[in-house]
């Protein structure tokens, strides 16, 4: 067991993946000498060389487009997009090419490309550095989309993402990069497409992923003081969704609140609410509620605490779900 931050856990996971398979490459802006602006790739270029850890020109479309070419040649590129708001120049390559080429080849081509994206707010950043663009990608067939929430998962999930033969969009909760936990090197984790019960609960189930898992766990702890037993599911995989885990939990509690930083409107919460309603209809005591961002661009940082779901907003929704 070693105590690692989430950023360091990703770093160790990448290191293990590169050790295990010489075809694994890391590429992106500032990932080499600097080790990435969040230091997730720190030291990798020194240890694996400039052929395997590539400081690319400043062009996201170029990063993903050439990663596709490298994958066609048998490599397994792990691409870093520096911040969530900068993935859009690469959207064309991700959506029209990366997601669809395997199917267009009738399965003859595999594109094991990982697109790492630091996501979410809460770090007091300027515009385009705090966004939650996951839904654009969960809406695109052909991409697997995952989000880690803690160092233990980060360590195994990044390795599983690299091993996966499908393209994986890998969201990293940037405000949790410095959270620490004990990580066991070499230990396997849950399969990449599985959700995790982060906390058992009898009265209501919170469903979250990425940065909001911790916030939900804190809300659950606070609710317990009020005598409410609140469970928390960490989805981990956003496409596909691990519905059996969600269903079992909601069948037990009869109440469900979905929490994410992304806007509520057309967010993942809508999909989960619909599925929970379809699958747990006779056990539900209340409609599935959603807590998330507003239908506004991410606000300037002095207002982000009002935009981001916090304990109060989650507990208010928990209160409401008991009001039916």
């Amino acid at each position: 067991m070693t105590t690692l931050t989430l950023a360091k856990a990703l770093n160790e996971g990448l290191r293990a993946a590169m050790d295990a398979d010489s075809k694994v490459l890391v590429m992106g802006e500032d990932v080499g000498k600097l080790g990435g602006v969040f230091r997730v790739t720190d030291g990798l270029q020194k240890d694996f060389g400039e052929d395997r850890v590539i400081d690319t020109p400043l062009a996201e479309s170029g990063i993903i487009g050439t990663a596709i070419g490298l994958a066609l040649r048998g490599y397994r590129p792990v691409c870093e997009i520096q911040f969530d708001g900068f993935v859009f120049p690469a959207a064309d390559q991700i959506i029209t090419q990366l997601a669809k080429m395997p199917l267009r080849s009738l399965g003859k081509l595999k594109l094991p490309v990982v697109v790492r994206i630091p996501c979410g707010g809460g770090i007091g950043a300027v515009e385009h550095h705090s966004e939650s663009p996951e839904t654009y990608f969960t809406h695109t067939a052909g991409l697997r989309v995952v989000a880690c929430s803690n160092p233990v998962d980060a360590y195994t999930m990044i390795q599983d993402a690299v091993r996966c033969d499908d393209p994986v969009v890998f969201f990293e909760p940037k405000r949790r990069y410095w959270d620490k936990a004990d990580v066991e090197f070499g230990a396997p984790g849950l399969p990449l497409d599985r959700a995790r019960v982060a906390r058992e609960g009898d009265d209501v189930t919170l469903v979250a992923y990425g940065p909001m898992v911790k916030t939900c766990l804190e809300a659950a702890a606070a609710a317990e003081e009020d005598g409410r037993s609140v469970g928390v599911i960490d989805l981990r995989s956003l496409n596909p969704l691990d519905m059996p885990v969600v269903r079992d939990a909601v069948n037990r509690t009869g109440r469900c609140v979905v929490v994410h930083e992304a806007p509520v409107f057309n967010g993942l919460g809508g999909e989960i609410a619909a599925r929970v309603t379809e699958q747990c209809f006779y056990r539900l005591e209340a409609p599935v509620l959603r807590v998330g961002g507003f239908s506004t661009p991410y606000p300037p940082s002095r207002l982000e605490d009002h935009y981001l779901p916090d304990l109060d907003r989650i507990l208010e929704a928990v209160d409401r779900v008991f009001g039916y």
Partner: protein, 360 residues
């Protein structure tokens, strides 16, 4: 990895030692008053920047992108514009903002996180800062196409960095500008670095040479020479206004500070490089020139120093007094016309917030 320090074919009118030199294509006739005024701009702009860095260090700003070392490139090009010209900046053009009459407080407001840029782009003909690398180059070309269709006597001037030249948008902007003969000047501040990546990660040829492949002229200018930056940009803008199409100006300069206050350049670049560029300081050479030619005396320099101190103090006080916006402000201006979803969410938010009133 040291960047070349004496690049070939560099337009220079004032040496680092403060000697005037001639250039066959670009010359400039400045009055003593104009030179003193440029000097004042350079000093004040640097002071704004230093104050902002200090404010960030003290937790008053979330971030700051310093222009240290790039004052001449920004003041020279900024002063080359007429009021009718339109500037499209990145996030580092505080010196250009100054030249366009934008109150530096607005720049601090953005980096403090009270808004995404509080100035009126139309009033100042200075567009909002663009953080997404390269996007604004296309906007500038489109704007220039509008100028062209209006038959107006103006041009757009778009700023971007050496790193930005790799973006698809920038290359598309070159193509559009060329094909439509748009009245636009591309002003690339090659400060040798894109965060941790040196220029050779972006280009195997000098950046100004890229222009020829797109079908318009490219010029490299000493970016630390305010005279040369002014002369070259002025000529390029005039050329654009006269219907002769775009120009790429590469201002060869150096990012003396960190990329932003979040960055630690000791991880990727050597101190020698910085030392070499210190000798080419954009302000010192103007001061030397003014002194040597007895165009300014000590009293003048003291006066500018005092003005800079006052500006810094005043800016600091006004920054500290910047109020956070009302929480409900995030629902404003999302759309120009009423929008049911935003209105509904605003109302829910107001109700939710009122639940806390009187709670503490």
């Amino acid at each position: 990895m040291t960047a070349p320090t004496t690049p070939p074919e560099l337009v220079q009118l004032l040496t680092p030692e403060g000697e005037r030199v001639e250039h066959p294509d670009y010359d400039i006739d400045l009055t003593a008053e104009e030179i003193r005024s440029l000097y004042r701009d350079l000093v004040l702009v640097r002071r704004v920047d230093l104050e902002a860095v200090a404010l960030q260090r003290q937790g008053e700003l979330g971030l700051w992108a310093s222009l240290l070392g790039q004052e001449a490139a920004q003041v020279g090009s900024g002063r080359a514009m007429t009021d009718a010209d339109m500037a499209f900046p990145t996030y580092r053009e505080h010196g250009v903002a100054w030249c366009r009459g934008v109150d530096p407080l607005h720049l601090l407001g953005l980096f403090r996180g009270v808004n995404h840029g509080g100035w009126d782009p139309i009033e100042h003909n200075f567009h909002l800062y663009t953080i997404v690398i390269g996007s604004q180059t296309l906007h500038a070309v489109g704007y220039a196409m509008g100028i062209q269709r209006d038959g107006a006597e103006a041009a757009s001037l778009v700023y971007f960095g050496d790193g930005a030249t790799s973006q698809g948008d920038v290359n598309e902007a070159f193509i559009w500008a060329s094909v439509f003969n748009a009245p636009v000047v591309f002003f690339c501040q090659n400060n040798q670095w894109a965060i941790s990546e040196p220029l050779e990660k972006q280009s195997k040829i000098p950046l100004y040479k890229r222009a020829s492949g797109f079908g318009f002229p490219g010029i490299r200018v000493d970016g630390n020479d305010v005279f040369a930056c002014l002369a070259v940009t002025r000529a390029a803008l005039r050329n654009a206004r006269e219907g002769n199409g775009p120009t790429l100006v590469e201002a060869f300069t150096y990012r003396m500070g960190a990329h932003t206050t979040s960055d630690d350049p000791t991880r990727y670049r050597v101190a020698d490089e910085l030392e070499a560029w210190k000798l080419k300081d954009p302000i010192e050479r103007v001061k030397a020139y003014l002194f040597r030619n007895q165009l300014a005396d000590q009293e003048f320099f003291d006066k500018i120093e005092a003005e800079a101190d006052q500006l810094g103090r005043d800016l600091r006080a006004r920054c500290l007094a910047l109020a956070d916006p009302q929480p409900g402000a995030m629902f404003d201006h999302v759309y120009a016309e009423p929008h049911a979803l935003v209105d509904e969410e605003r109302e829910q938010f107001t109700t939710y917030m009122s639940g806390f009133e009187g709670a503490q």
